[in-house]
Symmetry: C2
Subunit: 450 residues, 2 copies
């Protein structure tokens, strides 16, 4: 009998795992089970669908289930909910259109992703309160929001900012509520978060930092207002962008061990504590390559690679290792591009590093070249070794988002600020100044040593 | 008596050396001697001044001589030609406005840059034949070219392409003559050079590859035509973009040793073979960090850093080392951005590597995001170790120029394609696809291993 590899979840990690497993073991029967009608979907695109930049819901998926079946030879069950996992019998119980059936596996990949973390306050079930979850539901959200005039966005992280942009594009008024003392508190330290906040205010957002949601107030079953510890704001709808959590329920049914982060514990082969059961993507925790500690940073690029590793190893057995992440992330607010990698100053200090930092302003092109803009960079180093620990970038040229990739690689390779200063980065008046902003940041951090 | 540090040449390397020396040793008397009336000038900007993108000649310098004198405390001699170097007496002989004077030094930095390499053919001295040399002469060139209708650009490397763009912007017809079998032959292998050639043809350039200039034909003392080994082309002016060579005359007067490349030999401290004499920038050769061999790659970012190292060591003695370059370079032709780093396939093979390569086409953003464009990447690896040796990139989004910085750092750190595949590069639909094009290239190069 040929090997059966079953993957639960058709998002980035799951689809990647299924495709990889089939590619490396064409004789295996690879089955992908997805709860909605979309696979290879891109939740990161939802704000741009809501805002009208992406026109068609179908665009938020790379492949249709049919393409995956026909071109890849993978059996795809859509609209199919896995109700249980039986590890002893090596089977999953699936429900589709009210019917239950069983799918047997030799290897199982759990890629059930993340789900919104809803704050435990009254009113979250009211009509007009939304979480951003899956492209499959995005059209419904768009329809529902049509008549809303004023919307509260709760949470000032990536999704909150992106949804604020989208809703402004739709002509809504926005109240943005963030319980932290700054926007993007997990991504940025104060210096660059303040630049983002200025932009948010300039675009007309009513911004409330240091405020925690206490209640969503309804009337006639619909949202009337949001109450925080500091005020009550009348709104017609509420977007809860209050973070996500790993969707671990099925994993716990399979009996796999959870890690310190609350996500599924995996080793570098993406193996869980249960034999023949792998986990990949947002449901799994990752190793941070700077601290060596387990972290839960649910992002698509890493999910894709973890899926690749899980699928390869499920098909061939320990052929590939996932080395972990350094916390690279990118977002934008209108034309302000925001990117970060490594540890923020706050994270570095919390991890016991003694840090030095530089916050610089530089140009993105030669000073004489049209379209030159400003970029703000914060760079953080370990003061005992000079090793780069992290960087944050904010600027109006999309090219600055790419700076962070250079720093990500530098951090992965343990580069010091001196190594970065001497990096042979490219120059052309139209794309960078002759002293690249990253090199300026490294030089400023050296405090005159170079 | 305080230390005297004399720097010959006010370009990238020289100005950088002088500024650094003064900063690290404020008591030193630092003297910068420049032949023209501009310092910290940007020859890379000349094509954009000619093409009308940069309006003012002054914009092609970062600092005026006055600023350098007043703000940095550096003595600047402009319009001053160093006629000789006397190493025994530690003096340079300077001529300005017909007067000669002597400047004594304890440390000397030679930063005389590069000069055009003019092909040894008849007619190069005719009126209407130009080399691109120094921003100080750019206005004259612009004036002279006003009445030219058809211009031959000889040389299809960076400068030739950039000048072709500039002259097209001015409405000229262009005959572009390159003796190699492709455009940018030292930068790109055939695959990506062909994409550039298609664009050049589409913009209406009359392109002649595999043709070598034999004569510039004049009449009444002015240019009438360019003759190659294959044809004669009537033109009104000729731009010789036939490469540059190190401007070593003064260095040889100082008795310093030249290296295998013909440029001044320096060690990692930028010391020449003569005690207390340093060289930096285009006049000096560099170490290639992939091959370990000496190369001559005259580019501004490296010149700046070499100047920094020479200035620091002249002021303080062996405080900083220059590790060399990996051959990163960027250019553009209209909206086609072209970048490369490391070794081309041709260079890798010539250096004895057994190589494997991938040439891929990918998207620069999420497939659903507006403004998504195509990028072509060639990546070259050492087939025995998997180590990345080089990459070339061509695309219409300026962000692709930044890709090459990631690869430059990867190459400097000896990364394999597997290391690059697992690099934590950033993702946002507006700035990159979820599978970053560099990661796709690494994956394709793995031939199914990941």
């Amino acid at each position: 009998m040929s090997q059966a590899i079953v993957v639960i979840g058709g998002g980035a990690a799951g689809a990647s795992a299924a495709a990889r497993a089939k590619r490396l073991n064409p004789n295996a029967e690879v089955v992908l089970i997805e709860a909605t009608d979309m696979i290879t979907h891109a939740p990161c695109g939802i704000p741009y669908y809501i805002g009208g930049i992406v026109k068609r819901r179908e665009d938020l998926a790379t492949y249709t289930p049919e393409e995956f079946e026909k071109e890849r030879g993978i059996k795809v069950y859509i609209n199919s909910i896995v109700k249980d996992v039986d590890v002893d019998r090596k089977a999953v119980i699936v429900e589709r259109n009210g019917h239950r059936f069983e799918v047997k596996w030799n290897k199982l990949v759990i890629a059930t992703g993340a789900i919104p973390a809803v704050p435990p306050v009254p009113g979250v079930d009211l009509k007009g309160v939304y979480t951003i979850r899956h492209p499959a539901y995005a059209y419904k959200l768009l329809e529902d929001l049509r008549n809303a005039r004023k919307v509260a966005v709760v949470g000032g992280s990536y999704l909150g900012l992106e949804m604020a942009e989208a809703l402004l594009e739709l002509g809504k008024s926005i109240v943005l509520i963030e319980k932290g003392d700054r926007l993007l508190p997990k991504a940025l330290d104060r210096e660059l978060a303040e630049i983002v906040a200025r932009e948010v205010l300039e675009k007309g957002v009513e911004l409330h930092l240091n405020e925690e949601i206490r209640e969503i107030v309804g009337g006639n079953g619909a949202v009337k207002a949001v109450a925080t510890d500091k005020g009550v704001y009348e709104v017609d709808a509420v977007i809860l962008a209050t973070g996500v959590k790993p969707n671990i329920w099925l994993a716990t049914r399979a009996g796999v061990k959870l890690g310190v982060t609350g996500a599924v514990e995996v080793n570098e082969y993406m193996e869980t504590s249960v034999e023949d059961v792998y986990a990949a993507g947002d449901v799994a925790e990752k190793t941070h390559r700077v601290t060596g500690k387990k972290v839960w940073i649910p992002l698509a690029p890493s999910a894709n690679k973890e899926g690749q590793v899980a699928g390869a190893n499920a098909a061939r057995g320990r052929v590939l290792k996932f080395p972990g992440v350094v916390g690279t992330a990118v977002t934008k607010f209108f034309d302000l591009y925001i990117a970060r990698t490594g540890l923020s100053e706050e994270e570095a200090v919390a991890n016991g590093f003694k840090v030095e930092k530089a916050v610089i302003k530089a140009r993105t092109k030669a000073h004489y070249y049209p379209g030159v803009t400003e970029v703000h960079i914060k760079m953080i180093m370990d003061s005992s070794t000079g090793r780069i620990l992290g960087a944050q970038v904010v600027g109006r040229d999309p090219i600055v988002a790419g700076y962070i990739d250079v720093v990500a690689v530098a951090i992965e390779r343990g580069m010091t600020i001196e190594d970065l200063f001497f990096a042979d980065l490219g120059y052309h008046p139209a794309v960078a100044p002759v002293w690249h902003p990253l090199i300026v940041a490294a030089r400023v951090l050296s405090k005159g040593r170079f």
